[in-house]
C-alpha cells in the first residue's frame, strides 16, 4: 500500500533545510526535551510501541535492543550510530545526514538517554564528506543552543555527540567491526558473545544503531509510539512506522522516497521509481542491498498456516508488502529497503560476477569459509564468464556458497553466499549457456588446429 510520508524528508531539497532554525521551527528538539523528562523505562517502552525494526539491514526491533542494555552502573555506556552505509545499492542514510542532520542529533539524545549513555559516536564512512560537514555543523548549532552539553533542556543529563571518520571498508559497517575501527583497531568483526550491550565500544556497554533508526526517534516521540507504528500496514506484524525506500538501477526516477512501511516492490519500482528504464521487461530486483537474494516477478507468495499472509498468497512477490517478516517468511530478505532494479538488458551472469568480486574484495579475511570461499566463487564466475569453466566447476558454486553459509564469524558470510545461491538457482540456464559456449569455442579451436594429437606432436618436438 503506497502511503507517502514526510517525517524525515520534509526539508529534503529545501535550501538551508539542514540548519537548526527551520528544524526547530517545525517542532524540532521538542521530542528530545520530552524524552529527557520521562524515565528511561518509559522512553524504551515508547520506542518499543513504535515497532521500529532496525534500518541497518538486520531488522531487529530497536526498543527491544535498547532494553538489553544493563542498568547504569559504574561503567560509561555509549550509543554508536552506524553511518558506514556501504551496502551496494544503499544510499538512504546519507540523505538524512546531508539534508536532515538535526533529526539524527536529536535522535542521539533520545537514544543515548534510553540506554544510559552520555555520549554518542556517529561513525561515518570516509567518502561522505558533505555528511560529516553537515553533522558537525548541526552538532555545533545544537551545542550553541545548549541542546548538547552539560544540561540539555535544563535536565541533568549531560550529552555529547561526536562524528568519527571511518576508513571506508564495507566490513566496518558490521557493528562489531565498526567498534574495533572506532577504537583504532583493525576493522574486523568480533566474536559474539559478548554482545555490544555487554562489551562494546572500549569494552563498555554499547548500542549500535543505524542512522535512520535513530533519526526517526524524534518522530516517534512527537507522534507517539503506537500511533507512529500504526502508520504502517504491517503494524500487526510488529513492523511499524514509515521509512526511507531507495530505488536504483533500471528505473526512470531513481532516488530515495519516504513512505509508510507496507509499500510493495511494485509500488516502489513503478509508482515511485517511475517504471522500468526504456520500458523493457524486468529481469529481477535485489530488494535491499546486494546481500539480499534477487527476486523475480514470477515468484509467487505461498505461506501456509498464517492468517496474516492470506491476502498475499498466490500473488507475485512484487505485490508483497516490504517488511522484515513478510520477506523473511517467503525466503527473501528485506535488508536496507533500497532496491536495485535490473531490466532484461542485464546479463545475470555478469551481475553475479560483479557481486562476487565485491564480496571477495571486502571480506575481512578473518575466518576461513568467507576468506577463501568468496575468492573461490569469484574465480569460478570469472571462469564462467571467460568461457573457461566446466559444468563441474559451475556445480561447485552452490557447494562453496552453502559451506560459507552459517559457518562464519559475522553475517558477511551469509550476505555473500545468499545472493550467489539465488543467482545460480534462478539463472541456471544463463550460466550453463556460458559454459556450453565456452566448451564449443574450445572444441572449435582445437578442431581448427587440426587433429586432436596436434598438441601432442608439438610437445614431442619440444622434447
Amino acid at each position: 500500500m503506497l502511503k507517502r510520508t514526510e517525517f524525515l524528508s520534509k526539508n529534503y531539497g529545501v535550501e538551508g533545510g539542514w540548519l537548526i532554525e527551520p528544524y526547530v521551527k517545525s517542532g524540532g528538539y521538542q521530542s528530545a526535551k520530552r524524552a529527557l523528562g520521562m524515565t528511561r523505562e518509559q522512553v524504551v517502552a515508547e520506542a518499543k510501541a513504535a515497532h521500529i525494526r532496525g534500518r541497518g539491514g538486520a531488522g531487529f526491533d530497536c526498543g527491544t535492543k535498547w532494553s538489553f542494555m544493563p542498568p547504569p552502573g559504574d561503567k560509561p555506556h555509549y550509543l554508536v550510530v552506524n553511518a558506514d552505509e556501504g551496502e551496494p545499492g544503499t544510499f538512504k542514510d546519507r540523505t538524512i545526514m546531508e539534508m536532515n542532520p538535526h533529526a539524527l542529533i536529536e535522535g542521539c539524545i533520545i537514544g543515548a538517554y534510553a540506554i544510559g549513555a552520555h555520549a554518542a559516536y556517529i561513525y561515518v564512512r570516509d567518502e561522505l564528506h558533505l555528511s560529516k560537514a553537515r553533522l558537525w555543523g548541526a552538532i555545533h548549532e545544537a551545542r550553541e543552543k545548549g541542546y548538547l552539553g552539560e544540561r540539555p533542556f535544563g535536565q541533568s543529563w549531560a550529552m555529547q555527540v561526536y562524528v568519527h571518520t571511518g576508513a571506508g571498508a564495507y566490513i566496518c559497517g558490521e557493528e562489531t567491526a565498526l567498534l574495533n575501527s572506532l577504537e583504532g583497531r583493525r576493522g574486523e568483526p568480533r566474536i559474539k558473545p559478548p554482545f555490544p550491550a555487554q562489551y562494546g565500544a572500549f569494552g563498555m556497554p554499547t548500542t549500535v544503531n543505524n542512522v535512520e533508526t535513530i533519526a526517526i526517534m524524534p518522530t516517534v516521540f512527537k507522534v507517539g509510539g503506537d500511533a507512529f507504528s500504526r502508520e504502517s500496514a504491517l503494524h500487526d506484524l510488529g513492523d511499524g512506522g514509515a521509512r526511507l525506500f531507495g530505488v536504483s538501477g533500471h528505473v526512470k526516477r531513481p532516488g530515495v522516497y519516504e513512505a509508510a512501511v507496507g509499500l510493495t516492490l511494485r509500488e516502489l519500482i513503478y509508482d515511485l521509481g517511475g517504471g522500468i528504464l526504456d520500458d523493457r521487461p524486468l529481469l529481477g530486483v535485489i530488494p535491499g542491498g546486494s546481500s539480499c537474494p534477487i527476486m523475480l516477478e514470477e515468484e509467487i507468495v505461498n505461506v501456509e498456516g498464517d492468517e496474516r499472509f492470506a491476502p498475499y498468497n498466490g500473488k507475485s512477490v512484487l505485490d508483497l508488502p516490504m517488511g522484515v517478516d513478510t520477506y523473511r517468511r517467503t525466503g527473501n530478505m528485506l535488508g536496507t529497503c533500497c532496491a536495485i532494479v535490473l531490466n532484461d538488458s542485464v546479463d545475470p551472469v555478469r551481475a553475479a560476477q560483479n557481486l562476487a568480486r565485491f564480496y571477495r574484495h571486502e571480506s575481512c579475511g578473518q575466518c576461513t569459509p568467507c576468506r577463501e570461499g568468496c575468492g573461490w566463487i569469484e574465480r569460478l564466475f570469472d571462469k564462467v564468464v571467460a568461457g573457461e569453466a566446466t559444468l563441474e566447476e559451475l556445480n561447485q558454486v552452490h557447494q562453496v556458497a552453502s559451506n560459507i553459509m552459517g559457518n562464519t564469524i559475522c553475517a558477511f558470510g551469509d550476505g555473500a553466499a545468499t545472493p550467489m545461491l539465488a543467482f545460480v538457482r534462478k539463472f541456471r540456464p544463463q550460466f550453463e549457456e556460458y559454459v556450453r559456449r565456452g566448451e564449443a569455442e574450445r572444441n572449435a579451436r582445437r578442431a581448427a588446429l587440426g587433429s586432436g594429437d596436434h598438441g601432442r606432436s608439438l610437445a614431442s618436438e619440444a622434447r
Binding site: 566490513i171 566474536i191 574484495h361 579475511g365 569459509p369 575468492g375 561447485q396 552453502s402 553459509m405
Partner: protein, 537 residues
C-alpha cells in the same frame, strides 16, 4: 561436577569452560587450528564447528542452502542446522554436542579443510612442518579428497625474515592469528599483526620493528602449520626421524618442562620445545631455553685430563684419587653445583661427608641475570634449591667463601662439580690440587689439575628442583659422548679408586641410596601432555 554430552561421551566441565576446553582436559580432541589452550579465543579457522541439539521442544536454527539432485542436476533447496564453534561455545549442563557423529559437521570441516588448502602451496617436501602439520593431519582425517580448484594459487611473500630467529612464509599461513595473539598476550609485545584483507591478508611485523622479544621461537611453536619456521631448525631435520625425551630446561630456576628432540642415528640434539605443565611453564618456553639445547654439543670435555694431557678415563680417575689422598680432610673442600642434578650432587655429598670426612661444603653456580616477569627467573641455575635441600641443616657456603678460605691458606685441595662460577676465581691458582668433574669448559676448568668428563643433562637422567620447590625429572636423550659419564658414576668410580665401598652402577642404585636420606628428593616420572614428536597443542 556438571557435564555435557559429546557424541556418545559424557564430558565433565568446570563453570566457564568452553566445549573444546572441557574436552581437551579429558584428552578428547575436537579438531582445531586457531584455538590454543593458553591463548584467547579467536574462533576464526572454523575447524572446530559442532552441531548442538536444540533444547527439548525448541526447533533447531536452520539455514537455507542448495543441493543438487545427482541424477537430474536440478538444484534442490535444503536446510542445514547452524553449527557452533566449539572453541567459543560455553559448555552447559546436559548439552548435546555432536562432533564426530554429525554429517553436517563432517561436511563443514571437510569444506574448511579444502578452503584452507585452496591457495596453499603444499610445499610439504621442503617444509619443516611436514610430519607435524595440522594441514596434513586434518586433510587425512577430515578431507581426503583431491583439490578441486585447479587454477594458479594466490602468490604471497615467501621466506620473509621476521627477525633473527624466525622466517615467515605467507603462502603457507592460514591466518589463525595464534602468533599475533601469543606476542600480545604472553610475550606482552604486540609486534605482529594482520595486514590486507580477504584472501590477500598476511602476517606482518610492526613497521620499524623486528620480531625480537624474548619469546620469538614460541611463535613458530604455536603456528599450527609451516608458515613460521625457526632459523635454528630450518632445513636441518625431518621430524619423523626425531625422537623425544621429556626434559627439564637448564636455563634457569623456573625449570620449564620441555621435550628434547634428537636424532638417534647420529646422537644429535635438534630442538628443545615446551611440554605442557600448568604449574610451571603452562605451554611456553623462552628463546634462551629453547636454544639452550645447543650447549650440549658445545664447549665439551669428552675425555679425562691430567694437567694439559688427555688420558684414559681410568687414568684420570686414578690421578684424581691420588690427588685427594695426599690431603687431610680439614684442608679439603668439596664444591656442589646448582647446575647438576640431585643425583650428581647426592653422590658428591655422600663421598664428601661419609667417606672423605670433610665438612667444607660449598656450592657453585652461574651468576644471576635478568628476570622478565613471564617465565625467566633471575637464578640461571636449574637446581639451586635441590642442592640446598640435600645439604639439610648445614647449607653449603657460596663459592666466594671458598675463595677467601683459599686466600687464607685454609684450603689446599678442592673437589668440584661443574666449571661454572658466580664470580672471578683467580684465587684458585693458590690451590695445590683442583679435581674437577664437569661436562663443559668454564671458569674453573683452567685451574683443574685433574678433569673428569661428565655427561650433560641431555646425556643423563636426573632430578632438578625449581625455585618453587618442585622436583622434576629430566630424561636422558642421547648417549654420553666418548668418555663422558654421568657425574654420579664418575664420583662412584673415584670413591672406589680411593678404596671405599661405593657400588653405584646404575641410576637406580644412587636413587636407592637417596631413598634413605630425607633431603635427597627424587622426582616422580614426568608427565607428557603433548605428543612427543608430532602436532603441538
Amino acid at each position: 561436577m556438571p557435564s555435557f554430552k559429546l557424541d556418545e561421551l559424557e564430558i565433565p566441565f568446570e563453570p566457564g569452560d568452553t566445549v573444546i576446553q572441557a574436552a581437551h582436559r579429558v584428552g578428547v580432541d575436537i579438531p582445531h587450528y586457531c584455538w590454543h589452550p593458553g591463548l584467547s579465543v579467536a574462533a576464526n579457522c572454523r575447524m572446530c564447528l559442532v552441531e548442538v541439539a536444540p533444547p527439548p521442544g525448541r526447533p533447531a536454527m536452520m539455514l537455507d542452502v542448495l543441493r543438487q539432485d545427482p541424477t537430474t542436476g536440478e538444484y534442490v533447496p535444503a536446510k542445514k542446522p547452524k553449527l557452533q564453534p566449539a572453541c567459543q561455545l560455553k559448555a552447559a549442563e546436559g548439552m548435546d554436542v555432536r562432533s564426530q557423529s554429525s554429517p553436517h559437521v563432517a561436511e563443514a570441516r571437510g569444506a574448511v579443510q579444502e578452503m584452507l588448502l585452496l591457495n596453499h602451496p603444499v610445499d610439504c617436501p621442503i617444509c619443516d612442518q611436514a610430519g607435524e602439520c595440522r594441514l596434513q593431519d586434518y586433510w587425512l582425517e577430515h578431507q581426503g579428497t583431491r583439490k578441486r580448484m585447479r587454477d594458479e594459487v594466490i602468490h604471497k611473500p615467501k621466506a620473509q625474515v621476521f627477525g633473527p630467529t624466525i622466517v615467515y612464509d605467507a603462502e603457507r599461513c592460514i591466518i589463525c592469528t595464534r602468533c599475533v595473539r601469543f606476542c600480545e598476550e604472553v610475550a606482552k609485545d604486540p609486534v605482529l599483526d594482520v595486514r590486507e584483507r580477504g584472501n590477500l591478508n598476511e602476517i606482518v611485523v610492526s613497521p620499524g620493528r623486528q620480531l625480537d622479544h624474548g619469546y620469538t621461537l614460541m611463535t613458530e611453536f604455536v603456528c599450527p602449520v609451516g608458515a613460521l619456521t625457526a632459523v635454528d631448525f630450518r632445513f636441518k631435520a625431518r621430524v619423523w626421524f626425531l625422537r623425544s625425551v621429556r626434559s627439564v630446561c637448564q636455563g634457569c630456576a623456573t625449570g620449564c618442562n620441555a621435550f628434547l628432540d634428537y636424532d638417534p642415528r647420529n646422537q644429535t640434539l635438534y630442538r628443545h620445545r615446551p611440554r605442557e605443565n600448568l604449574q610451571v611453564n603452562q605451554y611456553w618456553m623462552c628463546d634462551h631455553g629453547m636454544l639452550d639445547y645447543r650447549r650440549a654439543h658445545e664447549d665439551r670435555f669428552v675425555s679425562a685430563y691430567v694437567g694439559e694431557e688427555e688420558v684414559t678415563l681410568e687414568a684420570g680417575v686414578n690421578a684424581a684419587a691420588s690427588a685427594l689422598r695426599e690431603v687431610e680432610p680439614e684442608r679439603l673442600a668439596v664444591v656442589l653445583s646448582a647446575q647438576h642434578s640431585n643425583e650428581d650432587n647426592f653422590a658428591l655429598l655422600t663421598l664428601a661427608r661419609d667417606y672423605l670426612g670433610t665438612g667444607q661444603l660449598f656450592i657453585t653456580n652461574k651468576p644471576h641475570g635478568e628476570a622478565d616477569g613471564i617465565l625467566r627467573h633471575a637464578d640461571k641455575n636449574p637446581n639451586t634449591l635441590g642442592v640446598e635441600q640435600l645439604c639439610g641443616t648445614t647449607p653449603p657456603r657460596p663459592l666466594q667463601d671458598l675463595l677467601a678460605a683459599i686466600e687464607a691458606g685454609q684450603i689446599t685441595h678442592v673437589l668440584a662439580l661443574s666449571s661454572v662460577a658466580p664470580c672471578e676465581v683467580e684465587a684458585l691458582q693458590r690451590l695445590k690440587r683442583l679435581v674437577l668433574i664437569t661436562p663443559f669448559d668454564g671458569p674453573l676448568a683452567g685451574y683443574a689439575d685433574v678433569l673428569l668428563p661428565a655427561a650433560t643433562w641431555a646425556e643423563s637422567t636426573g632430578t632438578f628442583v625449581n625455585f618453587k620447590g618442585m622436583a622434576q625429572e629430566s630424561e636422558r636423550a642421547i648417549r654420553p659422548e666418548a668418555d663422558a659419564r654421568p657425574a654420579w658414576k664418575l664420583i662412584g668410580a673415584l670413591g672406589r679408586a680411593l678404596g671405599y665401598a661405593i657400588d653405584w652402577q646404575r641410576l637406580s642404585d644412587v636413587r636407592l641410596a637417596m631413598a634413605t636420606d630425607p633431603g635427597a628428593v627424587v622426582a616422580p616420572p614426568p608427565s607428557a601432555r603433548m605428543a612427543p614428536v608430532g602436532a603441538a597443542e
